[in-house]
């Protein structure tokens, strides 16, 4: 980021939530970069930017789409880059219909299931139809994509979704009406500066400033960088917000270049690491998918579904990555004969994300629950249902530093106060195990830049506090001991696990031995046990084993490369000898794109990786992200798959066609192009399409999870939930508060929950500075102190005044922490993005009134009263609003229940 000439921070409060990383934004500023913050609130990030653009929450795609339109319409796109490295020229199937044609839907939508069949989004096959622009006549049979019938939602990791092969029909002139560039142009033609003013509340002058800042700072000589965080992901459609920025950055030629890219700012330490080596139900290490029951019954089916051997790039080797992993886990028990113990892996039968798990608890479908590093009673949406869910468990283990609210809900949670739960009636057996903190154990953190940084143990943990590693290792040992004599085949996966880490005198396993296993090593032969140094050494014949293929090299030469600490002053600006970045210690992904089609740097100023004619190799300031000796003019071997198939300008080496995708033929469940929808509770009609909200949204239908009526609300009575609030984090606190509200030095800096309102809204509602306000949604009501500030500004959008409220979410009720307050996530419903299963926490309709909330049972009465007035009470609303069961039955089900994957980044990441 320090190398950027312009930084657009949108969907992130970077200075507050990532203050250490923000030093690089400040560094870029001091070098003359322009920093623009687009956010509903004026935050500490805005205070340290050149300009703040307030936006109506949830309209980011209108703004980004208008920038895309502006860039195309004014011919400001980086022509050579787009032609060389993106799929702009690829021809799409003739029966594809855009949202422009179908009033907000794409072709392939099934209203009965709320899902898309993406067959018509595929590339037209070069062999079946040339690039002559002839229209029509394309059946699904000629499409190049394989996974027809269902648009998959599970994560494709760094690899992207597969294609059968990477040679679609193309029109290099970009004139064919069915080529991606023309489709893109038509799709965003109505996303104008006027539309931005109308939908986002951003003036034309401000839009002009933003557009000019970006286009002036993009091109061969300059680069612009985007940064986002959960201000984008925590929307229904949030994955498409990010893709919209990706499309824009590809058009401006800002990917794979220094100072470019899109920084996905992670919520806390090693959240990146927890997706690389995942805590997610649908992923295995290194972004290999979890196999699904029925679809992946054989190893061959499974491997074929990850990446076709005939596709371009490194995902064609996915079989080797999978075998490598299975060998690491099951050692000698994984053989060619038993398909490397593939059947030891569990199979998915559906989505098992955070919120599905909550619903299963409520249905008495879960007996026990381990909770590590998370505080869902505070940090997850609809906190009341989270806590009620836990009361259905038979037992629950909490490992944390302090007695967090997820450990104390049974004696002092809000439901005890409201009388809904009585401690003596709760049968859940609770266990609390104290955890060692990061200074009390060694290990690694992987951050936003994919940099794996090792930290040493500073002190031994006090008392019974133990590391997660020690806990898991010992739990495994005890389980294996109990099952030692079992002959039940279902116990074999546990008994055959390689589970043999050396321990120190305190019983702590050596974390470097785990790192070595993650890195991978040779199996058998002369080099038996020698660490691998590159993922290209990984084999599919069982002669290598490794826990995460993308981390291969972190323990190269038997040295912990993540522990390297050579100061920046002693090396060049790439600082390749500080820690280690996956993959292959590469600091910028797809850096082949930092040189032009001929392999020459785009400019001296942005020189990074280039083709050296003398040595006939790629070279530069970073490890080239490309086959080292493949000439820029190489056409690729179409008969081969994998790296050999890549042409010399296929810079996006993990994509099945080697190109950056302006248009996504597969991989997204809600459309190949980002499209604006209003949020489900929005009272403003979609200004662009008849389709009001994202048609693939997953809403958990339950009487305790109802939504505000939005545009279907009765106007006669006025809106019952007329305002919108958005949640955010403060520097002083950490997520759900487990690591800050219990620490006096942090707690005293922000001691009480507050809501930020504009002077205009305070006047309208009758709020006083530092007084109390009650915020009410169909889920719950909370109280907060009032902070009246001009940092909150009412916006003029859709012909009305839009009032937005900001509420940080770090507090909870209880007596264990130094400070307490109401839990804001109690207000939020479980409406999930279908790509990621992440909840919308950023645009919530609410009512606001002065004073404190009622105590005891009167709280639920207040919530019910507002539901009644909005016409969404459980006894009356089913027919009109389709909000699920109307009886008091505890059972509930997913509105859309299909086996799509989830990528809940955990409630901790709000």
């Amino acid at each position: 980021m320090a190398n950027a000439d312009c930084i657009v921070i949108q969907g992130s409060n970077m200075a507050e939530a990532h203050p250490v990383g923000y030093q690089w934004v400040m560094e870029a500023r001091s070098r003359g970069a322009r920093v623009i913050h687009v956010d509903p609130r004026f935050s500490r990030t805005s205070a340290n930017a050149d300009k703040h653009l307030p936006i109506r929450a949830g309209t980011d795609i209108v703004l980004l789409g208008a920038l895309i339109n502006h860039v195309i319409a004014n011919d400001l796109w980086f022509t050579d880059y787009v032609k060389a490295f993106t799929n702009a020229s690829s021809i799409i199937e003739g029966d594809f219909a855009d949202s422009e044609d179908l009033d907000g839907l794409f072709s392939g939508f099934d209203p009965a299931t709320g899902t898309y069949d993406n067959a018509s989004w595929q590339y037209a096959d070069a062999s079946a139809d040339g690039a002559d622009g002839a229209d029509g006549g394309h059946g699904a049979s000629t499409a190049t994509g394989v996974p027809h019938g269902e648009s998959h939602g599970e994560s494709h990791g760094s690899g992207g979704p597969q294609l059968e092969h990477g040679e679609p029909a193309r029109d290099e002139t970009l004139q064919d009406p069915r080529c991606v560039f023309q489709i893109l142009k038509r799709h965003y033609a109505r996303y104008t500066a006027e539309m931005v003013e109308e939908a986002c509340g951003i003036s034309r002058a401000d839009f002009e400033y933003l557009a000019r800042s970006m286009t002036d700072n993009s091109g061969p000589e300059r680069t612009t960088c985007f940064a986002y965080a959960v201000g984008w992901t925590q929307h229904v459609g949030g994955a498409q917000f990010i893709r919209a920025a990706g499309v824009l950055q590809l058009l401006l030629g800002n990917m794979g270049r220094p100072g470019g890219g899109i920084m996905a700012l992670r919520g806390h330490a090693t959240i990146q690491g927890s997706t690389d080596i995942p805590t997610l139900f649908n992923l295995l290490p290194g972004y290999l998918p979890m196999p699904k029951a029925g679809a992946h019954d054989s190893f061959e089916d499974y491997v074929d579904s990850i990446g076709s051997k005939s596709q371009k790039g490194f995902w064609a080797e996915s079989e080797a990555y999978a075998v490598n992993l299975l060998k690491a886990w099951w050692g000698d028990a994984a053989t060619a004969e038993n398909d490397w113990a593939f059947d030891y892996l569990p199979r998915l039968t559906g989505a098992h994300g955070t919120y599905q798990t909550t619903m299963r608890m409520l249905e008495d479908g879960l007996d026990g629950f381990f909770l590590l590093g998370q505080n869902p009673a505070v940090g997850s949406a609809n906190g009341r249902m989270q806590r009620l869910g836990m009361s259905h468990l038979k037992w629950m283990v909490v490992r944390d530093f302090s007695m967090i609210e997820s450990a104390t809900w049974w004696k002092e949670g809000p439901e005890i106060e409201s009388g809904e739960l009585k401690t003596e009636d709760i049968a859940t057996e609770m266990f609390f195990l104290p955890a060692a903190n990061h200074t009390e154990k060694a290990g690694s953190f992987t951050q936003t830049q994919r940099l794996v940084q090792w930290r040493q143990q500073a002190v031994t943990p006090p008392g019974d506090c133990r590391s997660e590693l020690a806990f898991m290792f010992e739990l495994g040992q005890r389980l294996r001991e109990r099952l030692r004599d079992s002959t039940d085949p279902r116990d074999r996966p546990l008994l055959d696990l390689t589970w043999d880490y050396p321990t120190d005198e305190h019983g702590e396993p050596d974390p470097e031995s785990v790192l070595k296993e993650i890195n991978g090593y040779h199996v058998g032969g002369e080099q038996d046990g020698v660490p691998l140094s590159s993922y290209t050494q990984i084999t599919a014949d069982g002669t290598t084993a490794g826990g995460c293929w993308i981390y291969t090299g972190v323990y190269a030469d038997g040295v912990n490369q993540a522990a390297r600490r050579k100061p920046g002053s002693e090396q060049d600006s790439t600082a390749a000898e500080w820690a280690w970045a996956w993959p292959a210690n590469r600091r910028i992904l797809y850096n082949r794109a930092s040189a032009d089609a001929d392999g020459k740097p785009w400019s001296e100023r942005k020189k990074y990786v280039w083709w050296d004619e003398d040595t006939q190799r790629w070279t530069g300031k970073d490890i080239p992200d490309f086959p080292a000796d493949k000439h820029p003019h190489d056409l690729g071997d179409a008969d081969e798959g994998g790296a050999a198939a890549l042409a010399g300008n296929d810079a996006f080496v993990m994509q099945a066609d080697g190109r950056g995708w302006l248009f996504a033929p597969s991989g997204m469940v809600d459309g190949p192009l980002p499209t604006h929808y209003e949020t489900v509770e929005s009272a403003i009609p979609n200004p662009l399409y008849g389709q009001q909200a994202n048609p693939t949204q997953m809403t958990i239908t339950d009487r305790d999870n109802m939504n505000a009526p939005g545009i279907t609300g009765t106007a006669a009575e006025g809106e019952v939930y007329p305002y919108v609030f958005t949640t955010y984090r403060l520097t002083e606190h950490h997520t759900a508060g487990g690591m800050s509200r219990f620490l006096p030095y942090l707690a005293e800096l922000q001691p009480e929950l507050f809501c930020e309102v504009s002077p205009e809204l305070a006047e309208e509602v009758g709020l006083e500075q530092n007084g109390w306000a009650t915020v009410i949604t169909p889920r719950s009501a909370i109280e907060a102190r009032v902070l009246v500030t001009r940092r909150m500004r009412p916006l003029q959008a859709a012909g009305r005044t839009v009032h937005q409220i900001g509420i940080p979410y770090h507090w909870a009720q209880g007596t264990e922490a130094v400070v307490s307050g109401d839990a804001v996530n109690d207000l939020i419903g479980m409406n999930l993005d279908a790509n990621t299963q992440i909840q919308n926490s950023k645009v919530i309709a609410c009512a606001l009134r002065p004073g404190r909330r009622p105590r005891g049972p009167a709280l639920r009465d207040l919530v019910a009263d507002f539901q009644d007035r909005a016409g969404i009470s459980p006894t009356t609303a089913e027919s009109t609003l389709d909000i699920g069961p109307t009886t008091a039955e505890p059972s509930a089900e997913l509105a859309v229940d299909d086996p799509r994957g989830a990528d809940t980044a955990s409630g901790e990441e709000h």
Partner: protein, 344 residues
Amino acid sequence: MGSLIESAGRPGADSGWEHEHPRKGFFTDTSICIGCKACEVACKEWNQNPTDGDLELLGSSFDNTGELGANTWRHVAFVEQDSERIEEAKESGRRLVSLGMPTVGPRSSGPRPGAPSTPGGRPGDDLTGEDTTPPDTPEFRWLMSSDVCKHCTNAGCLDVCPTGALHRTEFGTVVVQQDVCNGCGTCVGGCPFGVIERRDDGTISPRSSRDEGEQKDPDHGTANKCTLCYDRLVVGETPACAQTCPTTSIKFGDREDMVDSAEERVQQLHSQGMTEARLYGANPHDGVGGIGSVFLLLDEPEVYGLPPDPQVPTKELPQMYRTAGVAALGMVAATALAFLGGRR
């Protein structure tokens, strides 16, 4: 009374230290402060200071610390301003230039080529004919600034301390010796910045200790303030606040270098049209003889809660002694005269 004769450059040497230590100090550049309060936390962690206040919201923007005191040695102020106030700040900053602040060139979008690197402002610089139009004034801004003990050249607290508990260190800083302090509190009134305070009560880490129970504060009843991390300086370490600051808003080093880089920075900001930038505490002729912790501010000092014209209470002391001496001599003379006259 050593500080009465101290010069801004070497108050440590003037206090009788024989070895040569350059005077140490902070430069707090508020123009790059992001208000993270890491300095407040690092300070309390390192010095094991008790928590403050009653854990209630102050309703004062994001500031819930309020002010410096016995337990809080770094305090980040948050100031929300509209365009009218910003305009006034720009104007008052511009006026300071004509009072001898660094020269300012024409408006430009970047650092001005050939801008003088040393402050060379002449009193009464005529700016007519030069384009001093500032860049567009934003509608709103949010100032953040981390305040700390000033470690004055002429330190009021030190001057009035009757026990010698407050002393001038070899780094030119002013530090309380807790084992000498008798808690009389005279220093509290002696500080023109309201920095030093007696610690009346408190525990170090209530309800948070991972090992034992609560630790009683050992410095109960004595005067407390920033030591500029004396215990870190003697082993060559940087003070905790400067070490932790993620944006280098708090810089630490030789006081002379701090003042130089502060002046350079003001110059740079003025050349970019930010005429509201000004120095605080760098003037050796002010009422405290200059301070060890210089600041770059973006508005009048009062806006941040800093006194515009701090005066050490002992500043007039020599004159007072002289006057008192003359009076005493007069009294003696009069008495003598009376006796002489009586004898006559």
